[in-house]
Symmetry: C2
Subunit: 297 residues, 2 copies
Protein backbone atom coordinates (compact mmCIF):
# COMPACT_ATOMS: atom_id res chain seq x y z
CA UNK A 1 0.00 0.00 0.00
CA UNK A 2 1.42 3.45 -0.86
CA UNK A 3 2.70 5.40 2.14
CA UNK A 4 2.08 9.06 2.85
CA UNK A 5 3.33 11.45 5.51
CA UNK A 6 1.29 13.88 7.54
CA UNK A 7 2.38 16.87 9.61
CA UNK A 8 -0.13 18.41 11.99
CA UNK A 9 1.35 21.77 12.91
CA UNK A 10 -0.36 23.18 15.98
CA UNK A 11 0.44 26.20 18.07
CA UNK A 12 1.51 24.05 21.03
CA UNK A 13 2.49 20.71 19.48
CA UNK A 14 3.49 19.12 16.19
CA UNK A 15 2.50 15.58 15.21
CA UNK A 16 4.26 13.72 12.38
CA UNK A 17 2.95 10.41 11.10
CA UNK A 18 3.34 7.92 8.27
CA UNK A 19 0.69 5.57 6.91
CA UNK A 20 -2.16 5.04 4.50
CA UNK A 21 -5.22 6.08 6.50
CA UNK A 22 -7.09 5.33 9.72
CA UNK A 23 -5.90 2.07 11.28
CA UNK A 24 -3.06 1.93 8.77
CA UNK A 25 -0.49 4.18 10.45
CA UNK A 26 3.01 2.77 10.90
CA UNK A 27 4.90 5.54 12.68
CA UNK A 28 4.16 8.68 14.69
CA UNK A 29 6.09 11.33 16.62
CA UNK A 30 4.75 14.20 18.79
CA UNK A 31 6.78 17.12 20.11
CA UNK A 32 6.21 20.65 21.40
CA UNK A 33 6.17 23.56 18.96
CA UNK A 34 9.23 25.72 19.64
CA UNK A 35 11.16 27.82 17.10
CA UNK A 36 10.61 27.13 13.41
CA UNK A 37 14.25 25.96 13.00
CA UNK A 38 14.11 23.47 15.81
CA UNK A 39 10.56 22.30 15.10
CA UNK A 40 10.95 21.87 11.35
CA UNK A 41 14.35 20.24 11.98
CA UNK A 42 12.57 17.53 13.93
CA UNK A 43 10.01 17.13 11.16
CA UNK A 44 12.80 16.66 8.58
CA UNK A 45 14.64 14.13 10.75
CA UNK A 46 11.49 12.10 11.24
CA UNK A 47 10.67 11.85 7.54
CA UNK A 48 14.26 11.23 6.33
CA UNK A 49 13.68 7.57 7.23
CA UNK A 50 11.01 7.48 4.55
CA UNK A 51 12.97 8.85 1.62
CA UNK A 52 13.95 5.59 0.00
CA UNK A 53 12.46 2.26 -1.00
CA UNK A 54 10.74 0.15 0.23
CA UNK A 55 9.27 2.82 2.51
CA UNK A 56 9.48 5.86 0.29
CA UNK A 57 6.59 8.29 0.76
CA UNK A 58 4.38 9.21 -2.17
CA UNK A 59 3.85 12.65 -0.70
CA UNK A 60 3.57 14.76 2.41
CA UNK A 61 0.60 16.70 3.74
CA UNK A 62 1.09 19.65 6.05
CA UNK A 63 -1.89 21.02 7.99
CA UNK A 64 -1.11 23.96 10.24
CA UNK A 65 -2.51 26.79 12.31
CA UNK A 66 -3.13 29.92 10.25
CA UNK A 67 -3.15 32.33 8.75
CA UNK A 68 -1.32 30.65 5.90
CA UNK A 69 -1.09 31.02 2.14
CA UNK A 70 -2.34 27.74 0.59
CA UNK A 71 -2.85 29.16 -2.91
CA UNK A 72 -0.44 27.41 -5.29
CA UNK A 73 1.20 29.98 -7.56
CA UNK A 74 0.91 32.84 -5.08
CA UNK A 75 4.16 34.64 -4.19
CA UNK A 76 3.74 33.69 -0.55
CA UNK A 77 2.48 30.14 -1.18
CA UNK A 78 3.51 27.70 1.51
CA UNK A 79 4.13 30.27 4.20
CA UNK A 80 2.59 30.98 7.55
CA UNK A 81 1.58 34.65 7.34
CA UNK A 82 1.46 37.31 10.06
CA UNK A 83 0.81 35.38 13.26
CA UNK A 84 1.31 36.50 16.85
CA UNK A 85 3.13 33.19 17.47
CA UNK A 86 6.75 34.26 18.10
CA UNK A 87 9.15 33.46 15.26
CA UNK A 88 6.59 31.87 12.94
CA UNK A 89 5.40 34.91 10.97
CA UNK A 90 6.41 34.50 7.31
CA UNK A 91 7.94 31.08 7.97
CA UNK A 92 8.29 29.34 4.59
CA UNK A 93 7.26 25.98 5.93
CA UNK A 94 6.64 24.32 2.54
CA UNK A 95 9.83 25.76 1.04
CA UNK A 96 11.94 24.46 3.91
CA UNK A 97 10.39 20.99 3.92
CA UNK A 98 10.42 20.65 0.12
CA UNK A 99 14.12 21.56 -0.03
CA UNK A 100 15.09 19.07 2.66
CA UNK A 101 12.75 16.22 1.75
CA UNK A 102 12.21 16.55 -2.02
CA UNK A 103 8.65 15.24 -1.82
CA UNK A 104 5.39 16.57 -3.28
CA UNK A 105 3.84 18.62 -0.48
CA UNK A 106 0.18 19.53 0.03
CA UNK A 107 -0.35 22.45 2.38
CA UNK A 108 -3.47 23.71 4.05
CA UNK A 109 -5.08 24.81 7.27
CA UNK A 110 -5.68 22.34 10.07
CA UNK A 111 -9.44 22.79 9.62
CA UNK A 112 -9.40 22.18 5.87
CA UNK A 113 -7.38 19.03 6.60
CA UNK A 114 -9.96 17.97 9.18
CA UNK A 115 -12.83 18.63 6.76
CA UNK A 116 -11.10 16.49 4.12
CA UNK A 117 -10.27 13.61 6.44
CA UNK A 118 -13.78 13.57 7.95
CA UNK A 119 -15.21 13.57 4.40
CA UNK A 120 -13.00 10.67 3.30
CA UNK A 121 -12.92 8.55 6.44
CA UNK A 122 -15.02 10.03 9.23
CA UNK A 123 -18.46 11.42 9.94
CA UNK A 124 -18.73 13.03 6.51
CA UNK A 125 -18.28 9.92 4.38
CA UNK A 126 -20.51 9.80 1.28
CA UNK A 127 -21.36 13.50 1.61
CA UNK A 128 -20.69 15.81 -1.31
CA UNK A 129 -19.92 18.67 1.01
CA UNK A 130 -18.72 18.73 4.60
CA UNK A 131 -18.32 21.70 6.92
CA UNK A 132 -15.89 21.18 9.79
CA UNK A 133 -16.08 23.78 12.55
CA UNK A 134 -13.76 23.75 15.54
CA UNK A 135 -14.81 25.62 18.67
CA UNK A 136 -12.00 25.71 21.18
CA UNK A 137 -9.17 28.15 21.89
CA UNK A 138 -10.14 29.73 18.60
CA UNK A 139 -12.95 29.10 16.16
CA UNK A 140 -12.23 28.06 12.60
CA UNK A 141 -13.85 26.23 9.73
CA UNK A 142 -12.83 24.09 6.81
CA UNK A 143 -15.08 23.16 3.89
CA UNK A 144 -14.94 20.14 1.62
CA UNK A 145 -16.87 20.46 -1.65
CA UNK A 146 -16.63 19.21 -5.23
CA UNK A 147 -13.88 16.78 -4.25
CA UNK A 148 -11.55 19.34 -2.71
CA UNK A 149 -11.24 21.91 0.04
CA UNK A 150 -12.19 25.55 -0.27
CA UNK A 151 -9.53 28.15 -0.97
CA UNK A 152 -9.85 31.58 -2.47
CA UNK A 153 -8.18 34.80 -1.42
CA UNK A 154 -6.32 32.61 1.05
CA UNK A 155 -8.52 30.33 3.10
CA UNK A 156 -11.74 30.84 5.04
CA UNK A 157 -11.55 32.40 8.51
CA UNK A 158 -14.99 31.26 9.50
CA UNK A 159 -14.65 32.13 13.17
CA UNK A 160 -14.80 35.78 12.24
CA UNK A 161 -18.30 36.04 10.78
CA UNK A 162 -20.42 38.95 11.97
CA UNK A 163 -23.03 37.95 14.53
CA UNK A 164 -26.37 38.99 15.90
CA UNK A 165 -25.68 40.01 19.49
CA UNK A 166 -28.49 40.55 21.99
CA UNK A 167 -26.71 42.68 24.57
CA UNK A 168 -29.66 42.47 26.95
CA UNK A 169 -29.24 38.72 27.21
CA UNK A 170 -25.44 38.71 26.78
CA UNK A 171 -23.76 42.01 27.72
CA UNK A 172 -20.26 40.57 27.15
CA UNK A 173 -18.54 42.80 24.56
CA UNK A 174 -16.63 39.96 22.87
CA UNK A 175 -12.99 38.97 23.08
CA UNK A 176 -11.72 39.13 19.49
CA UNK A 177 -8.90 41.70 19.28
CA UNK A 178 -9.81 42.35 15.63
CA UNK A 179 -13.60 42.29 15.62
CA UNK A 180 -14.89 42.29 19.20
CA UNK A 181 -18.11 40.30 19.02
CA UNK A 182 -17.59 38.12 15.95
CA UNK A 183 -18.36 34.39 16.47
CA UNK A 184 -14.90 33.68 17.91
CA UNK A 185 -15.14 36.77 20.09
CA UNK A 186 -18.45 35.59 21.55
CA UNK A 187 -18.15 31.82 21.69
CA UNK A 188 -14.54 30.55 21.82
CA UNK A 189 -13.16 28.95 24.97
CA UNK A 190 -11.36 32.17 25.98
CA UNK A 191 -14.56 34.19 25.41
CA UNK A 192 -16.47 31.86 27.76
CA UNK A 193 -13.71 32.08 30.35
CA UNK A 194 -13.56 35.86 30.16
CA UNK A 195 -17.35 36.20 30.37
CA UNK A 196 -17.84 33.89 33.37
CA UNK A 197 -14.47 33.98 35.13
CA UNK A 198 -13.94 30.24 34.81
CA UNK A 199 -12.98 27.79 32.12
CA UNK A 200 -15.70 26.30 29.91
CA UNK A 201 -14.96 22.73 31.01
CA UNK A 202 -15.60 23.65 34.67
CA UNK A 203 -19.08 25.05 34.01
CA UNK A 204 -21.88 22.60 34.93
CA UNK A 205 -24.43 21.61 32.29
CA UNK A 206 -27.15 23.71 33.97
CA UNK A 207 -25.03 26.89 34.07
CA UNK A 208 -26.58 29.84 32.17
CA UNK A 209 -23.38 30.02 30.12
CA UNK A 210 -24.63 27.19 27.93
CA UNK A 211 -27.86 28.88 26.95
CA UNK A 212 -25.86 31.85 25.68
CA UNK A 213 -23.19 29.66 24.09
CA UNK A 214 -25.76 27.57 22.20
CA UNK A 215 -27.51 30.74 21.02
CA UNK A 216 -24.25 31.91 19.45
CA UNK A 217 -23.36 28.53 17.96
CA UNK A 218 -26.85 28.14 16.46
CA UNK A 219 -26.75 31.63 14.96
CA UNK A 220 -23.39 30.87 13.35
CA UNK A 221 -24.49 27.47 12.02
CA UNK A 222 -27.55 29.02 10.40
CA UNK A 223 -25.33 31.54 8.61
CA UNK A 224 -23.03 28.72 7.43
CA UNK A 225 -25.98 26.57 6.32
CA UNK A 226 -27.57 29.26 4.15
CA UNK A 227 -24.19 30.34 2.75
CA UNK A 228 -22.50 26.98 2.11
CA UNK A 229 -25.43 24.54 2.05
CA UNK A 230 -23.22 21.79 3.55
CA UNK A 231 -24.47 18.21 3.49
CA UNK A 232 -22.90 17.54 6.89
CA UNK A 233 -21.74 19.77 9.74
CA UNK A 234 -19.08 18.40 12.08
CA UNK A 235 -18.36 20.19 15.34
CA UNK A 236 -14.85 19.67 16.66
CA UNK A 237 -12.82 21.39 19.35
CA UNK A 238 -12.97 21.37 23.12
CA UNK A 239 -16.11 23.45 23.61
CA UNK A 240 -18.15 21.37 21.17
CA UNK A 241 -17.18 18.22 23.07
CA UNK A 242 -19.47 19.34 25.91
CA UNK A 243 -21.91 16.87 24.46
CA UNK A 244 -24.92 18.15 26.42
CA UNK A 245 -25.00 21.22 24.16
CA UNK A 246 -25.43 19.33 20.89
CA UNK A 247 -29.20 18.61 21.12
CA UNK A 248 -29.80 22.21 22.16
CA UNK A 249 -27.77 23.55 19.23
CA UNK A 250 -29.71 21.34 16.78
CA UNK A 251 -33.05 22.47 18.17
CA UNK A 252 -32.09 26.16 18.06
CA UNK A 253 -30.83 25.81 14.47
CA UNK A 254 -34.18 24.37 13.37
CA UNK A 255 -36.07 27.10 15.19
CA UNK A 256 -33.97 29.85 13.58
CA UNK A 257 -34.17 28.41 10.06
CA UNK A 258 -37.94 28.30 10.55
CA UNK A 259 -38.52 25.83 7.73
CA UNK A 260 -36.84 28.00 5.14
CA UNK A 261 -34.28 25.47 3.93
CA UNK A 262 -36.48 22.77 2.44
CA UNK A 263 -34.29 19.78 3.15
CA UNK A 264 -35.12 16.87 5.38
CA UNK A 265 -31.66 17.15 6.91
CA UNK A 266 -32.66 20.25 8.81
CA UNK A 267 -36.45 20.21 8.86
CA UNK A 268 -36.95 16.84 10.54
CA UNK A 269 -35.46 14.76 13.30
CA UNK A 270 -32.68 13.69 10.92
CA UNK A 271 -30.87 16.83 12.03
CA UNK A 272 -29.31 14.40 14.55
CA UNK A 273 -27.36 13.00 11.62
CA UNK A 274 -26.69 16.43 10.20
CA UNK A 275 -24.92 18.29 13.02
CA UNK A 276 -22.54 15.74 14.53
CA UNK A 277 -19.27 15.21 16.37
CA UNK A 278 -16.09 14.20 14.49
CA UNK A 279 -15.69 10.55 13.54
CA UNK A 280 -11.90 10.36 13.75
CA UNK A 281 -11.32 11.20 17.42
CA UNK A 282 -7.92 12.40 18.54
CA UNK A 283 -6.17 11.33 15.34
CA UNK A 284 -8.27 13.77 13.31
CA UNK A 285 -5.49 16.35 13.11
CA UNK A 286 -2.71 14.20 11.71
CA UNK A 287 -5.15 12.22 9.56
CA UNK A 288 -6.23 15.58 8.15
CA UNK A 289 -2.64 16.25 7.12
CA UNK A 290 -2.35 12.76 5.63
CA UNK A 291 -5.61 13.26 3.73
CA UNK A 292 -4.20 16.42 2.16
CA UNK A 293 -1.28 14.40 0.78
CA UNK A 294 -3.53 11.63 -0.47
CA UNK A 295 -6.50 13.52 -1.88
CA UNK A 296 -5.78 17.23 -2.37
CA UNK A 297 -5.48 18.21 -6.01
Amino acid sequence: MPLYGGVEGGGTKFVCAVGSGPGQMIDELRFPTTTPDETLGKVVSFFRKYMSAPQRLEGLGVATFGPIDPVVGSSTYGRILATPKAGWANCDIVGILAKELRLPIAFDTDVNGAALSEAKWGAGQNCGSVLYITIGTGIGGGFYTQGGVLHGLLHPEMGHIMMPHDRQKDPFAGSCPFHGDCFEGLASGPAIEKRWGQKAETLPADHPAWDIETDHIANALVTYIVTLSPQKIILGGGVAQQSHILPIVRSKVQKLLNGYVQSGNVTTESIEDYIVLPGLGNQAGVLGALALAMFAS
Copy 2:
Protein backbone atom coordinates in the same frame (compact mmCIF):
# COMPACT_ATOMS: atom_id res chain seq x y z
CA MET B 1 -19.65 26.90 -33.42
CA PRO B 2 -21.77 24.64 -31.15
CA LEU B 3 -25.11 26.17 -30.15
CA TYR B 4 -26.63 26.10 -26.70
CA GLY B 5 -29.97 27.19 -25.29
CA GLY B 6 -30.57 29.22 -22.16
CA VAL B 7 -33.76 29.74 -20.16
CA GLU B 8 -33.82 32.50 -17.57
CA GLY B 9 -36.87 31.77 -15.46
CA GLY B 10 -37.79 34.80 -13.37
CA GLY B 11 -40.79 35.48 -11.21
CA THR B 12 -42.13 38.10 -13.63
CA LYS B 13 -40.59 37.18 -16.98
CA PHE B 14 -38.94 34.31 -18.84
CA VAL B 15 -36.14 34.81 -21.36
CA CYS B 16 -35.17 32.11 -23.86
CA ALA B 17 -32.08 32.45 -26.02
CA VAL B 18 -29.83 30.49 -28.35
CA GLY B 19 -26.14 31.10 -29.00
CA SER B 20 -22.57 30.41 -27.98
CA GLY B 21 -21.80 33.20 -25.53
CA PRO B 22 -21.73 36.99 -25.20
CA GLY B 23 -21.94 38.65 -28.64
CA GLN B 24 -22.72 35.27 -30.19
CA MET B 25 -26.46 35.02 -29.61
CA ILE B 26 -28.64 34.23 -32.62
CA ASP B 27 -32.16 34.20 -31.21
CA GLU B 28 -34.04 35.44 -28.16
CA LEU B 29 -37.62 35.58 -26.86
CA ARG B 30 -39.01 37.28 -23.75
CA PHE B 31 -42.48 36.76 -22.30
CA PRO B 32 -44.28 37.22 -18.97
CA THR B 33 -44.30 34.40 -16.43
CA THR B 34 -47.85 33.08 -16.15
CA THR B 35 -48.93 29.51 -15.35
CA PRO B 36 -46.33 26.73 -15.63
CA ASP B 37 -48.28 25.08 -18.50
CA GLU B 38 -48.49 28.22 -20.58
CA THR B 39 -44.99 29.47 -19.75
CA LEU B 40 -43.20 26.17 -20.31
CA GLY B 41 -45.28 25.65 -23.44
CA LYS B 42 -43.76 28.80 -24.88
CA VAL B 43 -40.30 27.64 -23.87
CA VAL B 44 -40.83 24.33 -25.69
CA SER B 45 -42.18 26.05 -28.83
CA PHE B 46 -39.19 28.37 -28.95
CA PHE B 47 -36.60 25.61 -28.72
CA ARG B 48 -38.35 23.17 -31.09
CA LYS B 49 -36.78 25.13 -33.94
CA TYR B 50 -33.39 24.04 -32.63
CA MET B 51 -33.97 20.30 -32.45
CA SER B 52 -32.42 19.31 -35.77
CA ALA B 53 -29.30 19.96 -37.87
CA PRO B 54 -27.75 22.32 -38.76
CA GLN B 55 -28.98 24.26 -35.73
CA ARG B 56 -29.38 21.46 -33.25
CA LEU B 57 -28.57 22.50 -29.68
CA GLU B 58 -25.84 20.72 -27.73
CA GLY B 59 -27.72 21.33 -24.50
CA LEU B 60 -30.05 23.57 -22.56
CA GLY B 61 -29.38 25.53 -19.37
CA VAL B 62 -32.24 26.52 -17.10
CA ALA B 63 -31.63 29.15 -14.41
CA THR B 64 -34.66 29.98 -12.28
CA PHE B 65 -35.93 31.62 -9.16
CA GLY B 66 -35.82 29.35 -6.13
CA PRO B 67 -36.12 27.44 -4.06
CA ILE B 68 -35.26 24.60 -6.42
CA ASP B 69 -33.67 21.19 -6.18
CA PRO B 70 -30.51 21.26 -8.36
CA VAL B 71 -28.97 18.10 -6.85
CA VAL B 72 -28.74 15.45 -9.57
CA GLY B 73 -29.92 12.11 -8.19
CA SER B 74 -32.25 13.64 -5.61
CA SER B 75 -35.90 12.50 -5.73
CA THR B 76 -37.04 16.07 -6.36
CA TYR B 77 -34.21 16.99 -8.77
CA GLY B 78 -35.27 19.47 -11.39
CA ARG B 79 -38.24 20.85 -9.53
CA ILE B 80 -39.14 24.22 -8.15
CA LEU B 81 -39.90 23.54 -4.47
CA ALA B 82 -42.39 25.26 -2.14
CA THR B 83 -42.69 28.79 -3.49
CA PRO B 84 -45.38 31.37 -2.81
CA LYS B 85 -45.57 31.95 -6.59
CA ALA B 86 -49.03 30.62 -7.54
CA GLY B 87 -48.98 27.33 -9.46
CA TRP B 88 -45.23 26.88 -9.48
CA ALA B 89 -44.70 24.92 -6.25
CA ASN B 90 -43.39 21.43 -7.09
CA CYS B 91 -43.35 22.21 -10.83
CA ASP B 92 -41.09 19.60 -12.46
CA ILE B 93 -39.53 22.06 -14.83
CA VAL B 94 -36.61 19.84 -15.91
CA GLY B 95 -38.82 16.78 -16.33
CA ILE B 96 -41.27 18.66 -18.54
CA LEU B 97 -38.60 20.26 -20.72
CA ALA B 98 -36.54 17.07 -21.00
CA LYS B 99 -39.58 15.08 -22.11
CA GLU B 100 -40.57 17.60 -24.76
CA LEU B 101 -37.13 18.59 -26.02
CA ARG B 102 -34.95 15.52 -25.47
CA LEU B 103 -31.85 17.59 -24.74
CA PRO B 104 -29.30 17.40 -21.93
CA ILE B 105 -30.48 19.97 -19.38
CA ALA B 106 -28.43 21.78 -16.72
CA PHE B 107 -30.54 23.28 -13.94
CA ASP B 108 -29.64 25.76 -11.26
CA THR B 109 -30.60 28.96 -9.50
CA ASP B 110 -30.49 32.27 -11.33
CA VAL B 111 -27.69 33.42 -9.01
CA ASN B 112 -25.55 30.33 -9.54
CA GLY B 113 -25.99 30.89 -13.28
CA ALA B 114 -24.94 34.51 -12.88
CA ALA B 115 -21.89 33.53 -10.83
CA LEU B 116 -20.86 31.05 -13.53
CA SER B 117 -21.38 33.44 -16.46
CA GLU B 118 -19.55 36.28 -14.69
CA ALA B 119 -16.69 33.87 -13.94
CA LYS B 120 -16.46 32.69 -17.55
CA TRP B 121 -17.19 35.89 -19.46
CA GLY B 122 -17.73 38.85 -17.12
CA ALA B 123 -16.18 40.62 -14.14
CA GLY B 124 -14.93 37.39 -12.61
CA GLN B 125 -12.81 36.15 -15.49
CA ASN B 126 -9.52 34.52 -14.42
CA CYS B 127 -10.71 34.22 -10.84
CA GLY B 128 -10.70 30.83 -9.17
CA SER B 129 -13.75 31.74 -7.11
CA VAL B 130 -16.49 34.27 -7.70
CA LEU B 131 -19.30 35.30 -5.37
CA TYR B 132 -22.32 36.83 -7.10
CA ILE B 133 -24.76 38.61 -4.79
CA THR B 134 -27.97 40.17 -6.01
CA ILE B 135 -29.64 42.84 -3.89
CA GLY B 136 -33.04 43.73 -5.26
CA THR B 137 -36.56 42.44 -4.63
CA GLY B 138 -34.86 39.65 -2.76
CA ILE B 139 -31.26 38.96 -1.82
CA GLY B 140 -29.51 35.85 -3.08
CA GLY B 141 -26.04 34.58 -3.78
CA GLY B 142 -24.32 32.17 -6.14
CA PHE B 143 -20.77 30.90 -5.77
CA TYR B 144 -18.37 29.66 -8.40
CA THR B 145 -15.42 27.63 -7.13
CA GLN B 146 -13.21 24.79 -8.31
CA GLY B 147 -14.65 25.04 -11.79
CA GLY B 148 -18.30 24.66 -10.80
CA VAL B 149 -21.06 26.23 -8.77
CA LEU B 150 -21.84 25.43 -5.17
CA HIS B 151 -24.59 22.99 -4.28
CA GLY B 152 -25.09 20.95 -1.16
CA LEU B 153 -28.30 20.31 0.74
CA LEU B 154 -29.96 22.14 -2.12
CA HIS B 155 -28.39 25.47 -2.96
CA PRO B 156 -27.24 28.43 -0.89
CA GLU B 157 -29.84 30.92 0.34
CA MET B 158 -27.30 33.60 1.13
CA GLY B 159 -29.82 36.37 1.66
CA HIS B 160 -30.86 34.69 4.89
CA ILE B 161 -27.65 34.93 6.92
CA MET B 162 -27.98 36.13 10.50
CA MET B 163 -26.94 39.74 10.94
CA PRO B 164 -25.66 42.14 13.56
CA HIS B 165 -28.45 44.67 14.04
CA ASP B 166 -27.90 47.90 15.93
CA ARG B 167 -31.48 48.78 16.83
CA GLN B 168 -30.44 52.19 18.14
CA LYS B 169 -29.23 53.19 14.71
CA ASP B 170 -31.77 51.13 12.75
CA PRO B 171 -34.96 50.35 14.71
CA PHE B 172 -36.61 48.68 11.68
CA ALA B 173 -37.54 45.14 12.75
CA GLY B 174 -36.81 43.57 9.36
CA SER B 175 -39.17 42.38 6.63
CA CYS B 176 -38.33 38.70 6.14
CA PRO B 177 -41.42 36.61 6.91
CA PHE B 178 -39.18 33.70 7.95
CA HIS B 179 -36.35 35.41 9.84
CA GLY B 180 -37.23 39.04 10.48
CA ASP B 181 -33.90 40.82 10.41
CA CYS B 182 -31.75 38.52 8.30
CA PHE B 183 -29.80 40.24 5.49
CA GLU B 184 -32.75 40.15 3.10
CA GLY B 185 -35.07 41.34 5.85
CA LEU B 186 -32.86 44.35 6.52
CA ALA B 187 -31.49 45.32 3.12
CA SER B 188 -33.64 44.15 0.19
CA GLY B 189 -35.57 46.67 -1.90
CA PRO B 190 -38.85 45.90 -0.08
CA ALA B 191 -37.08 46.32 3.30
CA ILE B 192 -35.86 49.77 2.27
CA GLU B 193 -39.30 50.72 1.03
CA LYS B 194 -41.00 49.50 4.19
CA ARG B 195 -38.48 51.29 6.41
CA TRP B 196 -38.63 54.67 4.65
CA GLY B 197 -42.04 54.65 3.00
CA GLN B 198 -40.60 55.12 -0.47
CA LYS B 199 -38.83 53.01 -3.06
CA ALA B 200 -35.04 52.71 -2.93
CA GLU B 201 -34.57 54.23 -6.38
CA THR B 202 -36.37 57.42 -5.28
CA LEU B 203 -34.10 58.02 -2.28
CA PRO B 204 -31.43 60.68 -2.97
CA ALA B 205 -27.77 59.80 -2.48
CA ASP B 206 -27.57 61.91 0.69
CA HIS B 207 -30.57 60.23 2.34
CA PRO B 208 -29.77 58.54 5.69
CA ALA B 209 -31.16 55.33 4.21
CA TRP B 210 -27.87 54.72 2.43
CA ASP B 211 -25.74 54.88 5.56
CA ILE B 212 -27.88 52.15 7.09
CA GLU B 213 -28.05 50.16 3.84
CA THR B 214 -24.27 50.22 3.38
CA ASP B 215 -23.79 49.15 7.01
CA HIS B 216 -25.88 46.07 6.36
CA ILE B 217 -24.28 45.25 3.01
CA ALA B 218 -20.78 45.61 4.47
CA ASN B 219 -21.63 43.39 7.43
CA ALA B 220 -22.93 40.72 5.07
CA LEU B 221 -19.94 40.93 2.72
CA VAL B 222 -17.54 40.50 5.64
CA THR B 223 -19.37 37.34 6.66
CA TYR B 224 -19.22 36.03 3.08
CA ILE B 225 -15.53 36.94 2.75
CA VAL B 226 -14.45 35.09 5.89
CA THR B 227 -16.70 32.11 5.10
CA LEU B 228 -16.11 31.67 1.35
CA SER B 229 -12.85 33.56 0.75
CA PRO B 230 -14.01 34.58 -2.76
CA GLN B 231 -11.47 36.00 -5.18
CA LYS B 232 -14.07 38.37 -6.60
CA ILE B 233 -17.36 39.75 -5.30
CA ILE B 234 -19.91 40.93 -7.86
CA LEU B 235 -22.91 42.94 -6.70
CA GLY B 236 -25.94 42.66 -8.97
CA GLY B 237 -29.58 43.63 -8.56
CA GLY B 238 -31.38 46.94 -8.51
CA VAL B 239 -30.25 48.21 -5.12
CA ALA B 240 -26.57 47.56 -5.84
CA GLN B 241 -26.87 49.55 -9.06
CA GLN B 242 -27.14 52.72 -6.93
CA SER B 243 -23.50 53.19 -7.78
CA HIS B 244 -22.85 55.87 -5.15
CA ILE B 245 -23.00 53.18 -2.48
CA LEU B 246 -20.18 51.05 -3.87
CA PRO B 247 -17.20 53.11 -2.55
CA ILE B 248 -18.90 53.34 0.85
CA VAL B 249 -19.48 49.59 0.98
CA ARG B 250 -15.82 48.92 0.10
CA SER B 251 -14.58 51.29 2.76
CA LYS B 252 -16.85 49.84 5.45
CA VAL B 253 -15.79 46.28 4.53
CA GLN B 254 -12.12 47.19 5.01
CA LYS B 255 -12.87 48.88 8.32
CA LEU B 256 -14.83 45.88 9.60
CA LEU B 257 -12.23 43.31 8.48
CA ASN B 258 -9.67 45.43 10.33
CA GLY B 259 -6.69 43.92 8.52
CA TYR B 260 -7.56 40.37 9.54
CA VAL B 261 -7.71 38.85 6.06
CA GLN B 262 -4.14 39.26 4.86
CA SER B 263 -4.78 39.65 1.17
CA GLY B 264 -4.01 42.69 -0.93
CA ASN B 265 -7.47 42.40 -2.46
CA VAL B 266 -9.08 43.66 0.71
CA THR B 267 -6.29 45.40 2.63
CA THR B 268 -5.28 47.94 -0.04
CA GLU B 269 -6.88 50.19 -2.62
CA SER B 270 -7.22 47.18 -4.92
CA ILE B 271 -10.52 46.52 -3.16
CA GLU B 272 -11.89 48.61 -6.06
CA ASP B 273 -11.20 45.59 -8.25
CA TYR B 274 -12.49 43.20 -5.63
CA ILE B 275 -16.05 44.36 -4.96
CA VAL B 276 -17.44 45.25 -8.37
CA LEU B 277 -20.56 45.52 -10.51
CA PRO B 278 -21.49 42.76 -13.02
CA GLY B 279 -19.68 42.72 -16.34
CA LEU B 280 -22.48 41.27 -18.45
CA GLY B 281 -25.15 43.95 -18.10
CA ASN B 282 -28.79 43.10 -18.78
CA GLN B 283 -27.94 39.85 -20.59
CA ALA B 284 -26.45 38.43 -17.41
CA GLY B 285 -29.51 36.34 -16.60
CA VAL B 286 -29.90 34.48 -19.85
CA LEU B 287 -26.12 34.20 -20.28
CA GLY B 288 -26.10 32.60 -16.84
CA ALA B 289 -28.51 29.97 -18.11
CA LEU B 290 -26.42 29.46 -21.25
CA ALA B 291 -23.28 29.11 -19.14
CA LEU B 292 -24.92 26.34 -17.14
CA ALA B 293 -25.47 24.39 -20.37
CA MET B 294 -21.93 25.02 -21.57
CA PHE B 295 -19.86 24.64 -18.42
CA ALA B 296 -21.78 22.97 -15.61
CA SER B 297 -20.64 19.45 -14.90
